[in-house]
Every structure is written in structure tokens, then in C-alpha cells.
């Protein structure tokens, strides 16, 4: 099978085509009266809503609130998750001690703790930050842990036989070798932290992107709701793409599949 799929720029080209087609069908379905704009709105109205809220400053305010919560929650989970995962990866006892708590946090519907968090930390920003932190810290710690554990034993043996001390091993072998896994954890953690921010705001907040989605949803203003949702989608894509690029960069020094 050759044809279009064989072209070098085919992925980009066909991807653009599909986005254009979605917008076109969406807009014309509403204009031709096939679909009710109350439910699905329409691209032109969403664009107008976005530019209106950008001019009034509402968009930037919500974006700033969400980004700040995201930055604090995610920053904390990086600051806690990487050292915790590293120590657990290095010392078996610590790993066994942390393991039950990690799996619980990982499989618990953490957002269900939201009412309790409100009791503990107060409504709004602090609770949102805690949810974002807890959602992403488990991912980052778990990836760091497996990165530290899966260092090629051949590399360790080689370094030892050249007289490397424990300290040398940590700084010159274990850390560099586990960087790709750590960054993979950071990438997956970004998605979870963003989820925590948006969903936390959905339930109880006074500002932010999730709040504005829920707010316009309650008013049944579909256009404004989809506009906010779109900003969340763009944010998610940007964050994930950014860290994928970082991952590719840090991974480029590897030569073999087994290193």
C-alpha cells in the first residue's frame, strides 16, 4: 500500500485535513440546521467567545489561576516524587515500606477525597493544589523508582571493576542511566497534575479554567463552556508535547536498545 500514506509529509498534511474537516462539518451542520447549536455550539461562535474573554481579561485571569495551581502542585510533586523514588530505588527496605502507600494512592479515586481535603485545607486553591500534587506524585515516584532499579547491571559491574565508589556509581552511572525513565514519569505526571487542577476546580473553586467550565455548564452556556474546554485541550497538548520533546532529547545519547 503506497499512495498518499507513502509521502513524507503525509502525517502532518492528513492531520491538518482532519482538523479542517471537523471544523467544517461542525460549522455547516449547525448553519444548515442539522444540529442544535444549544448542544454543540459552533466553531465561529466559540472563536468569538474566546476573543471576547481574551479582551475582557477573563481568559487570562482563569489561565493564570490554573497555571499557578498547576505549577505549585506539579512543582511539589517533582520535588517530593523524584527524591522519594530515588531513595526507594536505592534501598530495598524503603521501597517495601512505601509500596503499599504508593499503590493505594495510585488506585484510589483521589478526587473522592475532595470533601475531606476541603475540611483540612479549605475550599479553593489549597485543595486544588493538593489534589494535583497527590495525583502526579505517585506517577513520578513510581517511574523514578523503576528507573533506578532497572539500571543495566553490566554498567554497574564495569564501573565497579574500574574502582568506582558507591558515590561515583550514583552520580556517574545510576543517575544518568535513569534520566529517561524519570523524564517519562515527569511527562505522565504532567497529565495527571493537569487533570487534578481541572477536576479540583470543577468541584470547588472561585476561578480557573475548570471553574469556568463548570460555571458556564451550570448556566447551560455551551459556547463559553466549550471555549474554556478548548483552552484546557490546548494546554494539555502543549504540556505533553513539550515533555515528549524533552524526553527525546535526553534519550538521544543512548546507542543500543539494551543500555
Amino acid at each position: 500500500m503506497k499512495g498518499i500514506a507513502g509521502w513524507k509529509s503525509a502525517p502532518v498534511l492528513l492531520g491538518a485535513v482532519s482538523f479542517a474537516a471537523i471544523l467544517l462539518v461542525w460549522e455547516s451542520a449547525v448553519r444548515l440546521g442539522w444540529a442544535n447549536p444549544f448542544f454543540i455550539s459552533q466553531p465561529s461562535a466559540i472563536a468569538a467567545s474566546l476573543s471576547r474573554s481574551a479582551r475582557s481579561g477573563e481568559l487570562w485571569h482563569n489561565l493564570a489561576v490554573s497555571l499557578r495551581e498547576f505549577a505549585i502542585g506539579y512543582g511539589l510533586s517533582v520535588a517530593v516524587g523524584i527524591p522519594a523514588g530515588a531513595v526507594a530505588g536505592r534501598f530495598r527496605t524503603v521501597e517495601y515500606a512505601l509500596d503499599p502507600f504508593l499503590w493505594f494512592l495510585y488506585s484510589a479515586p483521589l478526587i473522592a477525597f475532595y470533601p475531606i481535603f476541603v475540611l483540612w485545607f479549605g475550599l479553593g486553591v489549597p485543595t486544588v493544589i493538593v489534589i494535583a500534587f497527590l495525583l502526579s506524585v505517585t506517577q513520578i515516584a513510581a517511574s523514578t523508582l523503576s528507573g533506578f532499579q532497572n539500571v543495566n547491571p553490566g554498567l554497574l559491574r564495569a564501573a565497579r571493576s574500574f574502582g568506582a565508589t558507591e558515590r561515583d556509581l550514583l552520580w556517574k552511572v545510576v543517575l544518568p542511566a535513569s534520566v529517561p525513565m524519570v523524564i517519562a514519569g515527569l511527562r505522565l505526571g504532567v497529565g495527571r497534575a493537569l487533570m487534578g487542577v481541572v477536576v479540583g476546580e470543577l468541584f470547588g473553586a472561585t476561578a480557573g479554567l475548570g471553574y469556568s467550565i463548570a460555571y458556564y455548564g451550570a448556566l447551560l452556556k455551551t459556547t463559553d463552556m466549550i471555549a474554556s474546554l478548548l483552552v484546557v485541550v490546548v494546554l494539555g497538548v502543549l504540556c505533553t508535547q513539550g515533555l515528549s520533546a524533552l524526553e527525546a532529547r535526553f534519550d538521544s545519547w543512548r546507542t543500543g536498545p539494551d543500555s
Partner: protein, 267 residues
């Protein structure tokens, strides 16, 4: 060959028992320590049990919840929402993933929107799904479906793409038709990633049902959680959260066991 001295044999035996149980030992000790502190701290006046609850209170609350009649109804509602939504996610996600993995043009067309949805927190769609489908069961089923289908789709696609080319070529050279190649080579070879996608989708679907019920609903475990939360009954709330976590963990472990079986069978 003479047998190794008994003392050595016992020594290795003890060591192997010790190392295999070491994990269990350490984990148990830390969990027990955590539970003990949690139980004692409010009694010693170091924490307020209204906020932190206590293991004994959670157990008591659990017994009471299970005894009352509404519990069965809520579990039934949540479970059926999850089952329908997730079954739909598998039923549509796997065939669609197989198709997209097989036909390159189709994949290039649909990849960007799928990736955009993948990068979006799927629970952000909750308010609009409620506008579309109302606050009844349909919206929960839809959230479980959306949460579950994306990992299934992505992993199935990756599984089909990862099938060894030489197997396809070998099958073709033995005169296998397009359909034979698909059913006899590609399907079995991508099974492991399909099951992995199902495992990843599972926890997202469980979370989706519970959070959707917390957001707007008339029944279900999430509805209970929200009610207990607004009444500040943390003991009851914690029991429900624990129940959902155990369900998610058990279901995920079951699929993981299946996955490992397939791995070893495939070798």
C-alpha cells in the same frame, strides 16, 4: 556427588524464606504503624477525629453502611454504569484500534484528534456530557466510555503496528489472504498490547464513574461520597473511598495477571 552439609542447606533455606517474606514483613510493619498512629493520635488528643477519622471508626461506619438498604442499590448503580461504559469502550475501541493500526491513511487522519483527546484530562468533559445526556445513568456510562476507550485505542494501534513484519511476509508467502493475515497473525500478536490498553483504561473508567457521580447524580457510590462529604462524615466517606480503591486494585490486578499469562504464552 555428595549432598551439601545440612547446616548449609538450612542456611540457604532460611535466607530464601527471609528474602521472599522480607517485602511482606516490611510492608506489613509500616502499614500497621500507620494504622496505629492514625488510631492513637485522635485518642491522645493530637488530632481531631472529626477531621482525620480513625481506623476503628471507619470499620464501624462500614458495618453500618453495609447493613442499610441503600448501599446495595448504590453499588448496583455504579457497577452497572461501569460495566456498560467499559464494555462499550472495549467493543468499539479494540476494532477501531485494529482498523487504525492496519490502514495508514486512516491513522494519519484520526491520529491528531485522538492525541488531542489523549492529552486532555478526560474528566474536564464532565460538564458538557451532563448537558448532552442529563444527570442520569447515561452521562456516567459516557464518562466511563470516554475514559476507557482512549488507552484501549492507542495501545491496540501500537500493538498492530508493532507486529513483526517478517511474520506477515512469511504468512503471505504461504498464500495467506489479507483476512488470514489479520486473524491468524496480527490479532494474536497484538493481543498483549490490547490487554494492556484494557488495564490502563480500566482505572480511568472506574475513576470516571465515581467522579461523574460526585459531580451530578441521583445514585451510586460517588453520590454517597459527596453526601457524606457535605455532612462532614469522614468515617463513612473513607469507607466508600476504600471500597472503590479496592475494586479498582482488584480489577487491575486481575487484568495484569491475564497480561502476564499472555506474555508467557506468547514466548
Amino acid at each position: 556427588m555428595s549432598a551439601p552439609p545440612l547446616s548449609l542447606k538450612i542456611n540457604t533455606m532460611v535466607r530464601s524464606i527471609f528474602s521472599s517474606n522480607y517485602r511482606v514483613l516490611v510492608s506489613t510493619v509500616t502499614v500497621m504503624a500507620f494504622l496505629t498512629i492514625w488510631e492513637i493520635a485522635p485518642r491522645a488528643g493530637m488530632a481531631d477525629a472529626t477531621y482525620t477519622s480513625q481506623p476503628s471508626r471507619v470499620i464501624a461506619a462500614g458495618l453500618e453502611i453495609v447493613r442499610t438498604g441503600g448501599f446495595v442499590r448504590d453499588v448496583y448503580a455504579s457497577l452497572s454504569e461501569f460495566t456498560i461504559g467499559f464494555a462499550l469502550a472495549i467493543g468499539i475501541g479494540v476494532p477501531l484500534g485494529l482498523l487504525l493500526g492496519r490502514f495508514l491513511v486512516l491513522r494519519y487522519l484520526l491520529d491528531p484528534p485522538i492525541m488531542a483527546i489523549y492529552a486532555t484530562p478526560h474528566l474536564a468533559l464532565l460538564p458538557i456530557i451532563v448537558v448532552w445526556l442529563g444527570i442520569g445513568m447515561q452521562s456516567k456510562i459516557a464518562v466511563a466510555f470516554v475514559g476507557g476507550i482512549i488507552p484501549i485505542l492507542v495501545n491496540t494501534m501500537a500493538g498492530v503496528r508493532g507486529v513483526e513484519r517478517s511474520w506477515v511476509v512469511a504468512a503471505r508467502s504461504f498464500c495467506a489472504g489479507e483476512w488470514d493475515v489479520f486473524v491468524k497473525v496480527i490479532l494474536p500478536a497484538s493481543l498483549v498490547s490490547v490487554v494492556m490498553g484494557i488495564r490502563l483504561g480500566l482505572s480511568r473508567a472506574v475513576l470516571g464513574v465515581v467522579v461523574a457521580e460526585m459531580y451530578q447524580s441521583q445514585a451510586g457510590i460517588g453520590n454517597e461520597i459527596m453526601r457524606y462529604g457535605s455532612e462532614f462524615r469522614s468515617d463513612y466517606l473513607l469507607f466508600d473511598v476504600l471500597l472503590v480503591s479496592l475494586f479498582g486494585f482488584a480489577a487491575t490486578s486481575a487484568v495484569r495477571a491475564l497480561e502476564e499469562k499472555l506474555w508467557t504464552a506468547g514466548k
